[in-house]
């Protein structure tokens, strides 16, 4: 699903962000991506969603090599990836339904069927009764659920979550995490960057830790370094 091979990412102004990072996340797998601030987690996620391409090495997502991917192909690849952020990134002037529908509409999906699909997804994330609410009228946890529904609307094979519980209280965190777990159980691979070590320790999923731009630990392998780490599916 995701394959990093000896990936180096260097920025002209801030220098080396990733140095020789190699790992692989398999189809249907759930993996945490941890590490201190500035370790390179966000860079890894940006490389996965093709906001960036590596300076050296190879990144493959859902079978596509991201370097040299024609610009017109990037949107098609992104439709196979759902993305969730700490700050939700919802459009404030659109209702929950419209925010979710928007992700379908921009792909040119036929109008008929959008509404039913949006309702189904909002029900799935537990917001069936909040479809007509604007983001400001929703709690943080509810906004993140809308964002997750939006991320799922195109049936992605991979969900990338950047600190999805970072702005939420314990209760909301548990709710959102349960949702991610359900999504994964339904077959979608999840790569979740988080600072929440308690959550990481509590859950039985694979942990990939980066520090100073290098992969320092991979629970699937039990070691760090730049060796190729191939994980099994979660237990």
């Amino acid at each position: 699903m995701i394959r990093f091979s000896h990936v180096v990412k260097e920025y002209p102004r801030t220098g080396l962000a990733l140095n020789d990072v190699t790992f692989r996340v398999n189809k249907g797998e759930f993996a945490f991506l941890t590490g201190p601030s500035g370790a390179g987690k966000s860079t890894i996620l940006r490389l996965v969603i093709v906001e960036e391409t590596p300076t050296a090495g190879e990144v493959r997502v859902s079978g596509s090599l991201t370097s040299g991917l024609p610009r017109a192909e990037i949107p098609r690849l992104r439709r196979r990836i759902g993305v969730v952020f700490q700050d939700f990134r919802l459009l404030e002037d659109r209702t929950a339904e419209e925010n979710v529908a928007f992700a379908l509409e921009v792909t040119g999906a036929p109008r008929e069927g959008i509404s039913a699909r949006v309702s189904r997804l909002l029900t799935q994330v537990g917001l069936a009764s909040k479809g007509t609410s604007y983001p400001k009228e929703l709690s943080g946890g509810e906004q993140q659920r809308v964002a997750i529904a939006r991320a799922l609307v195109n049936d992605p094979v991979l969900l990338v979550a950047d600190e999805p519980t970072g702005n939420l209280d314990d209760r909301a965190t548990r709710g959102v995490f349960q949702l991610l777990r359900d999504i994964n159980a339904a077959g979608t691979a999840v790569l979740m960057a988080t600072h929440n070590l308690e959550l990481v320790k509590r859950e039985p999923y694979r942990v990939i830790e980066v520090n100073r731009g290098q992969l320092v630990f991979d629970s699937a392998e039990g070691t760090g370094g730049a060796a190729t780490v191939t994980s099994s599916t979660p237990t």
């Binding site: 017109a72 990134r89 928007f102 509409e105």
Partner: protein, 282 residues
Amino acid sequence: MRLTFREVVLGVRRSPLLSSLSVVTIAFSLFAFGLFGLLVLNVDRALRGVEEHVEIVAFLADGTLPESISAAMGDISAFPEVAHVDQVSPEQALARARAELPEFQDVFDASFLPASLEIRLKEGHRDPTTVKDVTQRIQTYPFVDDVRYGEDWVKKLYDIRNIAGAAGIALGLLFAAVAVIIIGTTIRMTVLARSREISIMRLVGATDGFVRLPFLIDGFLKGLIGGLLALLLTWGANALISHNLIQTFFFDPGIAFLGVLGGGIIGLLGSTLSVGRHLRRV
């Protein structure tokens, strides 16, 4: 397309102040350009009016036969540069002199005045070189005593037209460039105000074309409305000047239409550049 137009409307509704500001900025940039255009148009018309008075006068020798004069008039009329040729008899010349010059009030004998031919040239053939060339050809007739065309005056007039034309083009380009920059910046502000939305659109897999199209339509429509407003303002200013100061000419409907369309195109250009730059960055 329905979705694209919905995005355009949403964009305007989301930031009505910025949208109005864009339209007003575009309107005033084009208004300044329009006023300048009006000035150029009127100076050009005035100079053309003066230029119409460029004429060559060929004085004929005494006793020239009427048949020779008629033949010469026929020849000269056939010159490609010549608009028309008039014959002025000594009596007509005296009547004209008496009407225009007070010192001729007591003169009644026209015999001392020569007959002449007055030759008017076609538009586009009133430059010093052509005037001189036609003059030289007329001088070849044996019964032509002298030919005058106000050499200095024609040269000066021509120089003024050239300078006015060059200044018009240079300042016009400058005004247009300033308008493009101002309009581009205004539209860029709109794009920046919606950068969050653009980044979300791209994250959920919108193509560049899908992201770009509402902005292009928005820029074009704002440019068009700004152009219309500018036309109204220019028309108002022209009416005010015409009514209170001097009679001025306004643009032909075709030029006015092109001006408004130009506003739309500048708006389109400004948004194309801004969105393109922004898309590369997001």
